[in-house]
């Protein structure tokens, strides 16, 4: 990873999308777009580090395919986990991941912790079915953040 903060943020997104969520998985998912949850996005706007990660990185990626796929996973994950969709419930669902990102001492630490959580999820069967894909709760939550900040 680059030593500069901006590059770290870009790398973080790539890392999150390509490693935490699993690049081959993302490559299988088609592009998608949908209405966001405005209220939840506002909630996330109040967490600048998370928002900056994804906004900056999104702009930095020439090919939006990976992010689009992550958005799709995230959107459908929220649909699976939060019925009916309510801001408070989405906040509650995503708070652990946003807290981890915001409280990490560095981007590298955040990525490492996320990856570790993904592995733990699979070992502990903390999994979720998103359109037939067996995903870790953590990776699906990262995807949800990608969608909500898009």
């Amino acid at each position: 990873m680059s030593a500069t903060p901006r590059c770290q943020r870009r790398d973080f997104l790539r890392y999150a999308a390509a490693q935490v969520i699993s690049l081959p998985l993302l490559q299988t998912m088609g592009c998608g777009s949908d209405d966001g949850l405005q209220a939840t996005q506002e909630w996330l706007d109040a967490r600048p580090r998370v928002d900056t990660y994804f906004a900056d990185a999104r702009q930095s990626l020439g090919d939006d395919r990976v992010l689009d796929a992550a958005e799709r996973i995230g959107r459908e994950y929220i649909d699976v986990r939060v019925v009916p969709v309510r801001q408070s419930a989405v906040e509650e669902l995503l708070t652990p991941v946003t807290a981890l990102i915001n409280e990490a001492a560095s981007d590298e630490e955040a990525v490492a912790e996320l990856r570790a959580l993904v592995g733990e999820d699979f070992r502990d069967l903390q999994v979720v079915d998103v359109r037939g894909w067996t995903l870790s709760e953590t990776e699906a939550q990262v995807a949800a953040l990608v969608w909500l900040t898009s």
């Binding site: 699993s22 690049l23 081959p24 998985l25 490559q27 299988t28 998912m29 088609g30 592009c31 998608g32 799709r72 993904v118 592995g119 699979f122 070992r123 069967l125 999994v127 079915d129 359109r131 037939g132 894909w133 067996t134 995903l135 870790s136």
Partner: protein, 495 residues
């Protein structure tokens, strides 16, 4: 000796110590195993040595449950039976398959793997395979190939491929040449007649399509006609007892089981270029000592993982990496479809085929239909059912495999899933017909006892997969042959 039943004088009575009805894997195995015991054996086979349409059409029937292969296609009615077109897949049932599992209703055989193991070793030779080694770790180590492993929930099972042995052509001459064995071709059993006491068989009424009628009288009888025809014969023999023979508890024909196959259903998007060589069909390892045999690994869950989740037995074979568009079935565009349709986006991906055990269900059954065959015998009405719980269980099982693969950093699994979380894919049959004369310790729960003897009829035995209490997830032929070897030993002992 070989006898064409069409050349018998009408009204002939054939006598033997033992009569075996059906010359498929089970019947031929029993006859072979009893050579030299001094028993005179009559083998009654409906067909000749080759496929003939008029005989084969006696197998026609109607499906009223899950549509499956036509019943006169999936099995063969001539000497050698369905081994004339089997694919040779061999694997023994696992120890747990014989046990009563709390999470599988109606499970639990009255015998265990230990009792069957020496007969599996014999069966291994009958299907022209070598050592009875199904320890995937041992074989993988010998081959120097890795297994897919993670936290211990995954388990690799070893499948061996018989050449495949065609029992008809392979063992024909041995039986024909044996002075104690008479093989009657073109001989059809129309009725199983009871003594007046109704607790033992008196004789078999037989006929040929050419119009010759004859009778077979024996001390003991073995019905070895397969999982559909065994119950049909018993149910149709209802002149003396309206419910048929050996059916005092109404169990004949019930608990029909298949191995639901979900072919090329799940997908594995690969990550990290795992070495999956062990899971590819290839020549048998040298330690198996089977020059003509082949083998491959199958993925599944460990016993403890299935017990923890209350899941049936199932295996996953790792298949094609380049599934064509038309093979992607109900995978929606945007998922895997997009991968295979756009080479530029191709991601390494394997298709997975699931073969599963189904929970024994009394409502999944063989009945007599209203149509009749050329002899006036009612044709089969097959009502194959898979419970909704089975559909959920298979989906959950594959999800667990997916979690293990992901935990190992090897990618992600996709499974076709409906809105309620059950597997959504057309279940195909394996042509494995099981359970219709199931083995049980309690007569009220089955048709035959631990020795394959009918609970209700003291000189009637049943051989073949119809006696399976549960089916595991593996192809039945090796177990059919092992049980036949065991039954032969029993018959020799009591003779």
């Amino acid at each position: 000796m070989l006898i064409d039943a069409r050349e018998l004088a009408d009204g002939t009575t054939v006598s033997a110590d033992l009569c075996i009805v059906g010359a498929g894997a089970a019947g031929i195995t029993i006859a072979r195993a009893l050579r030299g015991t001094g028993l005179s054996i009559a083998v009654i086979e409906s067909g000749g040595f080759d496929f003939e349409g008029d005989t084969q059409s006696l197998y026609s029937g109607r499906m009223v449950g899950i549509d499956t292969w036509a019943m006169d296609v999936m099995r063969l009615r001539y000497f050698g039976g369905t081994t004339n077109h089997w694919a040779g897949w061999c694997m023994p049932l696992l120890e747990e398959d014989f046990e009563e599992r709390d999470w599988i209703p109606n499970s639990g055989w009255p015998i265990g793997l230990d009792e069957l193991r020496p007969y599996y070793e014999r069966a291994q030779r009958r299907v022209e395979l070598g050592e009875f080694i199904y320890d995937s770790v041992e074989v993988a180590n010998a081959e120097g190939l890795p297994l897919v492993e993670s936290s211990g929930r995954l388990e690799t099972q070893l499948l061996q491929f018989s050449p495949p042995t065609r029992f008809g052509s392979r063992y024909r001459q041995e039986l024909v040449d044996d002075p104690d064995v008479d093989v009657y071709l073109y001989a059809n059993v129309l009725n199983v007649a009871l003594e007046s006491s109704e607790d033992s068989l008196s004789h078999l009424d037989c006929a040929t399509l050419s119009g010759v009628s004859f009778t077979v009288e024996a001390d003991r009888y073995v019905l070895a006609c397969g999982g559909l025809e065994n119950p049909r014969i018993l149910l149709a023999s209802n002149e003396q007892l309206p419910e048929g023979v050996a059916n005092g508890n109404g169990m004949v024909g019930r608990y029909f089981m298949e191995h639901p196959h979900y072919l090329n259903s799940a997908a594995w998007v690969l990550q990290g270029e795992p070495d999956l060589s062990f899971y590819r069909p290839r020549a048998a390892s040298d330690i198996l000592n089977a020059p003509r045999g082949r083998m491959m690994g199958l993925l599944g869950l460990s016993r403890s993982a299935r017990a923890a989740e209350g899941l049936p037995h199932f295996t996953l074979s790792i298949g094609r990496f380049d599934a064509p568009e038309e093979d992607t079935g109900p995978i929606e565009p945007g998922d895997i479809h997009a991968l295979v349709a756009q080479p530029g986006r191709l991601t390494p991906m394997a298709r997975l085929s699931i073969r599963a055990e189904q929970v024994p269900d009394p409502d999944s059954r063989v009945r007599l239909g209203s149509d009749t065959d050329d002899f006036g015998i009612p044709r089969i009405e097959l009502d194959w059912q898979i419970t909704r719980d089975d559909d959920f269980a298979i989906r959950r099982g594959v999800e667990l495999v997916g979690a293990e693969i992901a935990a190992a950093g090897l990618g992600r699994i996709w499974t076709p899933t409906d809105d309620e979380g059950a597997i959504q894919w057309q279940a195909a049959p394996g042509g494995h017909h099981m359970g219709t004369t199931r083995m049980s310790a309690d007569p009220s729960e089955g048709v035959v006892d631990a020795n394959c003897r009918a609970h209700d009829v003291d000189n009637l035995y049943v051989a073949g997969s119809s006696v399976f209490t549960t089916g595991g997830s593996v192809n039945p032929t090796l177990t059919i042959v092992a049980l036949a070897e065991r039954l032969a030993d029993h018959l020799a002992e009591i003779a």
